[in-house]
Amino acid sequence: MKSLFNAPGANMPNRFILFLVATVISFSLSLISLHAQESLTPEQLKFFETKIRPVLTQQCYSCHSNDGQGVRGGLIADSREGLLSGGESGPAIVPEKLEESLLWNAINYQDFRMPPKKQLSREIIEDFRQWILMGAPDPRVADVTNLPSRLTASDIEKGKDFWSFKPPVLPATPTVQNANWPKTGIDRFVLSELERQQIEPSDDTDAYTFVRRLYFDLIGLPPSVAQVQAFVQSWSDDREQAIGREVDRLLKKSQYGERWGRHWLDVARYAESSGKEVDMAFPHAWRYRDYVIDSFNADKPYDRFVTEQIAGDLLPAKSDQQWTQNLIATGFLALGPKTLAEQNPRQFQADLVDEQIDTTTRVILGVSVACARCHDHKFDPILQTDYYALAGIFENTVTYFGAVASQRVRRASDLLVLPVADLSPFDKAIPTTELTQLKVDLQQKRQELFEARRAQRQGDSGVKGKSSTTARPANVGLLELQIGQLVNRINSVDERGQPLSFCMGVQSIDRLRNARVLVRGEINQPAQEIPRGMVSVIGPSDIQILDKSSGRLELARWLTSRDNPLTARVMVNRIWQHMFGAAIVRESDNFGASGPGATNQKLLDYLAVRFMDSGWSVKNLIREIAMSRVYRQSSKHREDLFLQDPENFFFARGNSRRLESEAIRDAMLAAAGQLDLDRPRASSIATIGQSIIGPGGVALTGRLATETPAMKGPPTKFNRAKSLPFGGQRQLNRPTSVTEIASKNRSVYLPISRNSVPRSLEVFDFAEPSMVIGERETSNTSAQALYVLNNPFVIEQSDAMAQRISRQAASTSDQIRAAFMIAYGRAATPAEQAASNEFIRRASSPAPARSSGVRSTDPRSSSALSQFCQALMASAEFRFVN
C-alpha cells in the first residue's frame, strides 16, 4: 500500500510531463472491466450467503451503499461491481489476490481500518481470506440489461436530412436588383433576402458612429479623439479605403485578441476557480486565458485551435514551446465548474465527463449531446448510446485541474508540469535547506494525522492518558489542510528547489476501455458496453477509433473535418453575432431541431464555406464582414422596418447594442486616461495558490494555516506579506480580496472566481462562468445605476477624466466639448452643451453663478467637473453603440 502523500519522485526527467501526486486521493477510474457473470457453484453461493453477505450487510452497508448514509470513500459494498471497482483508494477486491484487495488490508487493520469501531473476529477474517482466494464469488450482480434505443437506423438516416446536419455547400451568388448597393459577397446574400422580403436596406451610418462601432467590435475599446478625427477625415476622402485601412490596423493590435479571446472565454466557461460549494482557486488557469488571446492574435486557424483544445496533448510537437502551448490548450477540458465536495469519486468522474461532453458539443457543434445522458435526445436524433460512445473517449482521459484535499475538498487533483519553464512572479524558489525542512515537517504532520485519526476512531475516550497532544479529533481537518498545503508547496519546486511551471489540462490513460450505458444516467445502473465513437447523425461517419487510441484525437479530427456540418457554421454564426449584436441562427448554441434555425441559411453557408476555404481564418472573416455594406448600415429607427422585421432578422439595419461589462469598464479607464494596455503577468488568483476563495474573494486556507500556532517554519508563499502587482499592500491582519483588486489593466485580465466575480463585471451581465454562454444578457438594473452613481472605481475615473480635460482646456465650454469627444466620440449638440454648462454652473457653487468661460480654479468646480464627467460615463450613450 502506497503512502497517502507522496513527495515528488526522486528523478524528474525534465522533458517529460510529470504527474504530481499532490493529492490525498487519486482518481478512481474503475479500470476493472466487468466480466460477464460466471455461474456460481452451489457451494460458492452458500459460502457467500452464510459467511460473507451477513457481514457486509451489518458492517459495511451503512457507510458504503447507495441506500445507506452515503458512499464513504466512494466505495459501494452492496454489489459485486462496487467491490471490484472499489472507491477512491482502489479496488476493494481483486479476486484471488489478497495483497491487492484493499478490503483485506482494511479488515486486517493495516493501512485502513475497517470496520472502524471494532476489528472483525479472527474467524470472519479467515472467511474473507478464503472467499477472496476462491475468486470472491458474488451473486449480487445486477442483470446487464441491453438498453434498447427508441430510435432506429432509419431515424438516424432521416435525421441527417435536417438542414444543419448536412454539410454546407457554397451557394450560387444571387443576383440582386439594386446592383449598386452590394460591395461584398455578404452584401449580395443579405440584399437578395431583403429584396425577397421587400425590405430596403438602411443608409450607411455616419463616420463618427461607424468608427466607434468598429473600434468596440474589433478591439473592445473606444477610439481616441485623434483616431476619430483622422478617420472622419479619411472617410470623407474615400470611404472604402478608410474602412479597409482602419480594419487592418485594428486586426494587428494585441487588443484585438483580448476582445475576441474574451468572446471565446465566454463559451469556454473560463474561470479561475472551481465554483460550486467549495470555490477552490485554479491558480494556473490564466495560462489558458493567455493562450486563447494569443491564438486569436496569431489568427491561428480555427480547426487547429479546436484540435489543440480537445487533443493538444496528443499532437506531435516540433518544439517544447509548442508542446507547452498544446498542453495549456487542453485546459479547455479541465476548467469546468466542479463539485469538489462530492464524496463519491465515481459520481464525480461521471459528472466531470458529462460536463466535458456538454461543453465540447455545445461550444463547437452548437448541439447539446449531454441531453442524451439519461435517455435518447428528445428533439434531435441523438441516441443515448451516442452519449456513451463519447463518454468512453472522455473516460479514457484524466483531467488535471489541481485541488488540494481537505475535509471540504473531497476530490483532489494534480496539475501538469510544463515542459518549458514559464515562471510567473508568484513561482518562487525554495532554498534547499528549507525544502528539506518542509519535507521533515510533512513527515511529522502525517504522523500527527495518523494519530489524530486513530484518536478520532476511538471516540471520546481517545485522550485518556495518552501523551499525544494532537489527539483531539478537531485537528484532523486542520492537519489534512496543512499537509495538503505542504505537499502543494513541496511540489511547486523541483529537487533543487527551483520553481516549476504548471498548467491545467488532460492526458490519456494507458488502460483503455469503453463506457457502458447507464440506465437513466445513474452510475450504479450500468447496461451494455458501447464502443468509443462519435454522434451517429453528425458526419463525417468514417472516422474509426483504433483499439489503442483513447479516441480524443479522432474526436478532434471529426469536429474539425470539412465534412462536419456544424463546426464552421457554428463559429461563423458566433463571429457574426459579435459583429452585429445578433446572430443568423439566433440561439447560437442550439443548431438542433429545437433551435430557431437560420434566418438566412445561404448567407450562413456562404460564410461557413468561405471560412473553411480561407484556412479557417477568423481575422479574414471579420475583415470581410467589416468591409460589407451590411455592417455599415445605420441603426436608426425606421417605421417600415419596425413593422416588417422588428427583430431585425434580415439585417436591414444596424443594431444598437449595450456594451459588455469589460468594454464599459475599459472605456471608463480609457476616458480617464488611466488604461494600462500592458498584459499583467498571471492573475491575482495565482498569488494564493490552491486555496479556497471565500466571501468577498478572500483566500481562506492560507490564512487559516498562518493563524494556527501548530504551523511551524518560515513563512510560506501563502502567508508572506508582499506588495502585489495588482495594487495594494497585502497585510497579514486584514483579509485581502484577490478578486476585488485595484487594476488599471484591461478587464479581460481581471480575476474570475466563479463565486466572486468582480463587481465591475458582474453588475453588467458578465457571462456566468459556470455555463456555456453564447450570448450575454443585457439587462438594465438598478444595481447598475447604483454602481455608476456610487462606486469608488467610477468616481476615481471621473476625477481622473476631470483632471484630464481641465489640463486640455481652460474654459468650461471647451472642457465640455473635450469631454463629449472623449466619452461619446462626437461633438456635443447645442442642447447638450447648454445643459452641461448649466449643470456645471449649478454644481460648482451655491454662490452667484459665474459666467462660463472663466477659468475654474476653485476646488469645488473641479468636483463639479468630476460630477459632470461621471454623468457622461453613467449615461446611456456611454454604454451603447449605435
Binding site: P337, F642, T781, A785, L786, Y787, A835, A876
Partner: protein, 471 residues
C-alpha cells in the same frame, strides 16, 4: 411578424408621457394590450421585467419568507415525534449505531394536538397555523449538494434558485426594492440565490453575510453588510439628484434622437429605481422606530435570539414593503456531536424570533397571504454514531410551512417508526417545490424558461403538487 397595430402609438406614448419615463407608462399600458403590442414589437421583453405579473391561477400566497436552517436540524428532536425511538433506545439502528431517544419532551399542541418538542415551545404556540410535512426526502446525503438541491432542485448543474423562479414568475410589487432578498447567505452558496440562465435581474440581492464559524470568525468581519453602492461617498442627496437629473437629460435627449430605444428607456428607469432604493433601503433596515413590544416579540435584545430576531423583523418589514421572496439563513444545525448541549442552544436562537414573526404577521393580517417556510437541507439520523450526536438523514425529515394558503394544525406524511425514511405520503424536494409554486399561483409545469434549446423548469421533469396540505 407583421401587424396592423400602428407602431407609432407606442412611440407616441413614450414621448408624450408626462412623467418622461415612457417605459413605465408603456409597462402599464402593455398589460391591457400586451398581446397585440407584443406581436408588433417583440422588444416588449425589454419592458421592466420586474413588473408584477399575473399568476397562472389565483394565488394563495403573495410572498414567501423562507427560514432556511442550514446544517440539517434534527427532525426527531423537534417536529417528528417518534415514541418508538424512545422505547427502543439503545438497540441497534438501521446502520449499526445505537438508536438514541430524543432527550426532549414532546407534547400535543394546538386544537389538533400536533406533537411538538419542548425545544420549540414558542413556535408551538402557533401550532394551529403550522403545516408539518413529516415525509420530506431528497437525494443528497451531504450538506453542500443537499443545500443546492433544496434551492435549485438540481445538485449537479448550476440552475436558478427557487427565489429567482418566483421573481421571474410573479415580478415584484415594490419598484423601490429588490424583489428577492437573501439575508446571511452562507459562504459558497451563490447558487442558492442565483439566477443561472434566468436574466440576472431575478437573482437574489444579498444583505449581510453569515457570521463565519471557527477560525474563520477571526479573519472575516461579521459586520452587517449593506447593499453594495447604496450610498454615495461624497454627494448629498440634493447634489446627487441634480447630477441624476442631468444624466436623465442626456438620456432623454438620446432617446429623442434615437426615436425608439428600449435599452435607453431601461437605463432611464433603472436610475429612478436606484434613486428610490437609496431612500427606501436604509429606512427599511432601520428598525429603531419599532415599538419595544414588537422588538420583544422577536426576541430582540434578549441575548441568543437577538441576531435572528432582527433578521425576522427585517423580513417582516421587507414583506410588508412588497418584496416577493425573502430568505434568511441560520446555520449551525449540523449536530454530529454534543447534541444535548448544542441543539437547545441553536433552537433558542430561533424559537422566539420565529414565534414573533408568525404573531406579527398575523397581527397585521399578513399571514394569510405570506407563506412562511421553515426547514433545512435534510434531517438527522435516529441513531447516534458518536454517542451524543446524530448523523445526516436525507431520506426522511420535516419541513413546516405556515400561512399562505396551507392548512394549519396539520401533520402531513410520516416517516418510519424511528424516523429514518419517509414512508407515508412521501414528499420529495421536487414535490415541495411544485407545491410552493402552486401556492404562489404558479404551475410548475408552465413556469419555464428556454435555455440552450430546452424549456427548463424548477422541477425538471418531476414534481407533484401536494394538494392535501392546501386550504
Amino acid at each position: 411578424m407583421t401587424s396592423n397595430v400602428n407602431p407609432m402609438s407606442r412611440r407616441e406614448v413614450l414621448l408624450s408621457a408626462s412623467a418622461g419615463f415612457g417605459y413605465l407608462a408603456f409597462a402599464g399600458l402593455s398589460t391591457a394590450n400586451s398581446e397585440k403590442l407584443n406581436a408588433a414589437d417583440s422588444t416588449a421583453r425589454t419592458t421592466n421585467p420586474l413588473v408584477a405579473k399575473d399568476s397562472h391561477f389565483p394565488a394563495r400566497a403573495k410572498r414567501v419568507i423562507f427560514l432556511c436552517m442550514q446544517g440539517g436540524p434534527s427532525h426527531v428532536d423537534t417536529f417528528d415525534y417518534k415514541p418508538k425511538l424512545g422505547q427502543d433506545a439503545g438497540r441497534g439502528g438501521k446502520y449499526g449505531s445505537k438508536l438514541m431517544a430524543s432527550p426532549w419532551k414532546f407534547s400535543q399542541r394546538g386544537k389538533n394536538g400536533l406533537w411538538i418538542s419542548e425545544l420549540f415551545s414558542e413556535v408551538a404556540k402557533h401550532a394551529d397555523d403550522l403545516c408539518l410535512i413529516r415525509s420530506m426526502h431528497c437525494d443528497q446525503p451531504a450538506h453542500p449538494r443537499a443545500m443546492t438541491q433544496m434551492h435549485t432542485g438540481n445538485a449537479q448543474f448550476v440552475r436558478p434558485s427557487l427565489g429567482a423562479w418566483t421573481l421571474y414568475g410573479l415580478g415584484t410589487e415594490n419598484d423601490s426594492l429588490p424583489g428577492f432578498i437573501s439575508m446571511n447567505p452562507p459562504p459558497g452558496g451563490a447558487q442558492n440565490f442565483g439566477s443561472a440562465f434566468l436574466p440576472a435581474i431575478y437573482q437574489g440581492t444579498t444583505v449581510g453575510r453569515n457570521a463565519p464559524r471557527g477560525p474563520l470568525a477571526r479573519i472575516l468581519p461579521t459586520s452587517q453588510q449593506q447593499l453594495p453602492d447604496i450610498a454615495n461617498p461624497r454627494l448629498s442627496d440634493q447634489s446627487q439628484r441634480r447630477q441624476l437629473d442631468f444624466i436623465q437629460t442626456l438620456n432623454k435627449q438620446k432617446l429623442a434622437r434615437d426615436q425608439h430605444h428600449p435599452g435607453v428607456e431601461g437605463v432611464i428607469e433603472s436610475f429612478e429605481l436606484a434613486f428610490r432604493m437609496q431612500d427606501a433601503i436604509p429606512e427599511l433596515m432601520d428598525v429603531s422606530k419599532e415599538t419595544a413590544d414588537t422588538l420583544a416579540m422577536y426576541g430582540i435584545g434578549q441575548g441568543d435570539s437577538d441576531s435572528f430576531g432582527r433578521q425576522c423583523l427585517l423580513a417582516r418589514r421587507f414583506a410588508e414593503a412588497g418584496v416577493r421572496f425573502i430568505e434568511i439563513t441560520h446555520g449551525n444545525w449540523d449536530h454530529h456531536n454534543r447534541l444535548k448541549a448544542q441543539l437547545p442552544q441553536t433552537c433558542s436562537e430561533v424559537d422566539q424570533p420565529i414565534s414573533g414573526l408568525l404573531a406579527d404577521l398575523k397581527r397585521r393580517d399578513m399571514l394569510k397571504d405570506t407563506l412562511v417556510i421553515w426547514g433545512g437541507e435534510f434531517g438527522r439520523s435516529p441513531d447516534a454514531p458518536n454517542g451524543d450526536g446524530r448523523d445526516h438523514n436525507h431520506k426522511g425529515y420535516t419541513i413546516w410551512m405556515a400561512g399562505g394558503g396551507v392548512k394549519g394544525g396539520l401533520s402531513y406524511g410520516q416517516t418510519d417508526d424511528y424516523g429514518y425514511e419517509a414512508v407515508v405520503d412521501k414528499c420529495h424536494i421536487h414535490d415541495w417545490h411544485a407545491t410552493v409554486l402552486h401556492l404562489l399561483g404558479l404551475d410548475h409545469q408552465r413556469l419555464t424558461y428556454r435555455y440552450a434549446g430546452r424549456d427548463f423548469r424548477l422541477t425538471d421533469v418531476h414534481g407533484n403538487v401536494v394538494k392535501q396540505i392546501i386550504v
